[in-house]
Amino acid sequence: MDIDSIADRLSSLFPGSVRGIEKEHAGDPFLVMDPARLVEVCMHLRDDQEMRFEWLMCLSGVDYPPETIAVVYHIHSQTHGQKLVLKVLLARSEPRVPSVESVWKMANFHERECYDMFGVDFEGHPDLRRILLPEDWEGHPLRKDYVYPESYRGVTNKA
């Protein structure tokens, strides 16, 4: 199935879940999704016999200041040899999206990393802690306006 027919299928089954198709960008075309219905749509993408996107290849975050943070899902179907990119656009002041950990288990660590680096709150995640940085770290380093700390626990960060 190409991306247009996938979008049509999803729109008919879950009205309002697909907010747009972006094909003009360099790279893979992607679907802009509604965060509210993300989990049930992803479950359908995984289980539907014609789609079978059973593998979440990558979950990443992108910061678009001043207002948007995006979470990008690259999913792959081993059965049909097909890829799909989903994107949700979130408010930068309070980025919040349902966790897809219940759909793909490997989203667990990816969402923790995205939370660590961008501060995205994945609702329903069973264990949303920092994964790379120490627990008491302040801020989320991959945000564009991140200010480098002068020191951490009394150890200077200067060369």
């Binding site: 790379l132 120490p134 380093p141 480098y148 700390p149 951490y152 150890v155 200077t156 960060n157 060369a159």
Partner: protein, 171 residues
Amino acid sequence: MSVIENRFEPGVLVTSLDTVINWARRSSLWPMTFGLACCAIEMMCTGFARYDLDRFGSGAFRATPRQSDLMVVAGTVTHLMASRVKLLYEQMAEPKYVISMGSCANAGGPYWEHGYSVLKGVDKIIPVDVYVTGCPPRPEALLDALLYLQNRVIKGRTIARGKAPIFGGGV
């Protein structure tokens, strides 16, 4: 030597206890099995047949800090890892020695300016005996550092040290 001269059977060697202890320490500097980044690959390479760290008595990589004499900090020390490195160092028994291997452990390496999460040199948290430059250092460089450290160990005063600091640890 005149007091003990001609008092022993032939074949008995007389030496100072310091020399014997330091000789034993020098000849069995056991490193800890412990690598942080790409420098660890080079350290493993030093341990294998081509460079053979065992020639100098340092091939027995111990899996616990309590049996180790030497900590080779091989790689990037992040702030998250720094607490563990310090804990491991504190768990090692005296006398203990530290080789800081590679640019990252020496001074932060390529992360010295923009690496928000990287410790700018492991000497900010534990005392370092020998620094090895390189990114990563070649096995010859690590062997050189080991031999340098051995020369320092053999010169240390152990029994008769008094208040004079021995090499490593508290220096």
